[in-house]
């Protein structure tokens, strides 16, 4: 590293930051500006002939008025999926970090294994699993755990289950990273200092794992809020999320200005929620 610094001279910092800055400049800042201008353009144009930028803030008013239920649904589904991921992910990450012993690496590989298959294919296979004449539904009906006319596919449950499944690894990995760092001696020290297992968890393990909890919930909640694959493959027209609206405005509707305005609103809402959340969790230093 020192050798590299010498070679690059006193401008080393700029040179090191350069490539990433260039990349982000081209693929983030420019599209962002394009998105913002499109969101303020007159929808009278078309994708082929272009839109004229007229500072048309009514686009925002229109999309909020038309699509607010989709925004609410997105955040509710993403919120439920995040909580489910936290519960499932925390227990699993805890087990991997403290109980897995020599199976630790294997278990971590298994957590990441789904990434070797495409997101789309995995979600499609959920469609098969949850299908009305699939083995799962048949079994549940046989066991009378489900009414005869009940179904799983094309329900909110399926959408939330899909979201939970797809984003679970993003919860587990940061949680594991933070739990694994906790010195087991601290647990012993707490036991020595009159803390029963519950108090040990609450006073030592949980606070020390908070960075992982915050990191994991953000990595789950943010992409889940904007997701449309799960809702479109596993849901029905009444379970559509804001991502589905944006997608159809862009594609079938060819209404770029409204689609862009809805995207910006989604983004702003997520940023605001994340900031409030991180501040409340007392982990600002993560941002």
């Amino acid at each position: 590293m020192a050798a590299l610094q010498r070679a690059l001279g006193r401008n080393s910092a700029y040179l090191l930051v350069g490539p990433a800055a260039l990349w982000l400049g081209i693929f983030f800042v420019i599209p962002m500006i394009s998105l913002l201008t499109t969101s303020l353009s007159d929808p009278a144009g078309s994708p082929i002939y272009g839109y004229s930028m007229t500072w048309r803030f009514e686009n925002y008013v229109d999309v909020v008025a038309d699509y607010w239920p989709y925004l609410v649904r997105s955040f509710v589904y993403a919120g439920i999926a995040t909580v489910l991921c936290l519960i499932l992910g925390y227990t699993l990450a805890y087990a991997i970090a403290f109980k897995a012993g020599r199976f630790k690496t294997l278990m971590l590989v298994l957590v990441v294994a789904p990434f070797f298959t495409s997101f789309l294919v995995r979600t499609l296979s959920w469609k098969l699993i949850l299908a009305d004449n699939g083995w799962l539904v048949e079994t549940l009906k046989t066991l009378h755990l489900m009414p005869e006319d009940g179904r799983l596919l094309a329900t909110p449950i399926a959408v939330v289950a899909g979201l939970t499944y797809n984003f679970l690894p993003f919860m587990i990995l940061p949680l594991y990273a933070s739990l694994e760092k906790i010195d087991p001696k601290l647990n012993e020290a707490a036991a020595d200092l009159y803390a029963n297992p519950f108090k040990r968890f609450w006073n030592v393990v949980w606070p020390l794992s908070l960075p992982g909890v915050v990191g994991g919930t953000l990595l789950t909640f943010i992409p889940a809020s904007g997701d449309y694959i799960n809702a479109s493959l596993l849901g029905n027209p009444n379970t559509q999320m804001v991502g589905n609206r944006i997608q159809s405005l862009f594609t079938t509707g060819s209404d770029y200005p409204h689609a862009a305005a809805l995207s910006v609103i989604l983004m702003v809402l997520i940023v605001v929620m994340v900031m409030v959340y991180v501040r409340r969790a007392g982990t600002e230093d993560l941002l």
Partner: protein
């Protein structure tokens, strides 16, 4: 030791045994009685079972067999958080997310005690940490962290305080200072301290009673003075300070009672050893003498001490340490022994290497150990 009303809270370990699932027996039928209010040290090399013993007392390890009592209370299988025992961990194990005050208050708060802050204030004063109260452990020096670990345990007024190599992470100077500090605090609070260490000097300067452990058993137990002056095994003789061990043949026993002595033929010279210092029944033994008890004088000049004399030794090496000089002497029978000489200035210089010297020591300083034991046992590589 025990009072008539049975209120003593001595720590008693009886037949304590710990075998790990891999078959390794860390502690083997250990019996110990540690009087209430004493400063007790468990001394031994790493892997001797001292830490395992401590962890069993703390409840962090379950004994395979045996019992642990405090007074009449059996705590062998009590959960760690229900024992009147606290531990100062080797690397302190301070809670990194809590302030010093919160670390110290951890125990009392978990027990749901009242006026915890007042107690914490008091203990922080005792350990001179008042100014650090609102800092996090990472902001403190090693010595300060050590004191936090101590304060965090002491605030609970445990019946027994366990210290697992508490000074091991400190540099030499700080370690010496903390030894005195710990001793002062122990005398002030009057709790039973059980201190685990591999540092013989630390054990000897601090503890009232020292138990020397090796391979899962206690080799010898006593005051530092007893252990040093009258070791019973070659391990203790070598682990606690250093010893010269010289092969000898037992000729016989003379006298009786306190005056009883054993005559030993040591390469042609007959030495007498007090029966109280003889720890073998066999006809052969190791005659032990501490290096600082060995006196030398260049051949031809009178040696001014009564005792067992040997002539014909040669100085083969010397290292000057300032306060003293360490000489290596080749004895006529071909064995090298060590002599520490105080640099009183009386000699007016060092004895040059190659000088032929007479060697002597007072017979009352010698001890006799079992010849079946390894003369190299307990020698520390440094």
């Amino acid at each position: 030791m025990s009072l008539a009303d049975g209120r003593t809270r001595d720590l008693r370990l009886a037949g304590l045994h710990k075998q790990y699932p891999n078959g390794f027996a860390a502690v083997q039928s250990l019996d110990l009685e540690i009087p209430q209010g004493s400063f007790f040290a468990l001394l031994g090399p790493s892997g001797c079972g001292k830490t395992t013993t401590l962890r069993m007392v703390a409840g962090l390890e379950v004994p395979t067999a045996g019992t642990i009592h405090i007074g009449d209370q059996d705590i062998t299988h009590e959960k760690p958080y229900k024992r009147p025992v606290n531990t100062v961990f080797q690397n302190y194990a301070l809670f990194p997310h809590l302030t010093i005050a919160e670390n110290v208050e951890f125990g009392p708060r978990r027990r749901g005690e009242k006026d915890v802050s007042a107690q914490a204030k008091e203990i922080l004063e005792l350990t001179e940490l008042t100014e650090q109260a609102s800092k996090k452990p990472a902001q403190l020096s090693g010595g300060q962290q050590q004191r936090v670990a101590l304060a965090r345990a002491l605030i609970n007024r445990p019946e027994v305080l366990l210290l697992d190599e508490p000074l091991g992470a400190l540099d030499l100077k700080l370690r010496r200072a903390m030894q005195i500090e710990l001793k002062r605090i122990q005398e002030e609070v009057g709790l039973t301290f059980v201190h685990v260490t591999h540092d013989q000097e630390e054990a000897m300067t601090m503890a009232d009673t020292v138990a020397v452990m090796n391979l899962g058993v206690i080799e010898q137990m006593g005051t530092p003075y007893e252990l040093y002056t009258n070791p019973r095994t070659t391990f203790v003789a070598n682990f606690l300070g250093r010893s010269n061990l010289i092969k000898g043949t037992v000729l016989g026993r003379e006298g009786s009672g306190a005056d009883a002595v054993v005559k030993v033929d040591m390469h042609g010279t007959v030495v007498t050893i007090s029966a109280a210092r003889v720890h073998t029944e066999s006809s052969e033994g190791w005659v032990g003498i501490r290096p600082e008890k060995v006196l030398i004088q260049p051949e031809g000049t009178p040696i001014d001490a009564p005792g067992d004399h040997f002539s014909g030794a040669v100085v083969t090496g010397s290292s000057y340490i300032g306060v003293s000089t360490e000489y290596e002497l080749l004895m006529p029978w071909g064995q090298e022994i060590t002599c520490f000489e105080q640099n009183t200035g009386r000699r007016g210089g060092l004895v040059p290497v190659g000088t032929r010297v007479d060697v002597s020591w007072r017979p009352e300083f010698a001890f006799l150990l079992d010849s079946s034991q390894d003369a190299e046992a307990g020698i520390q590589e440094t």
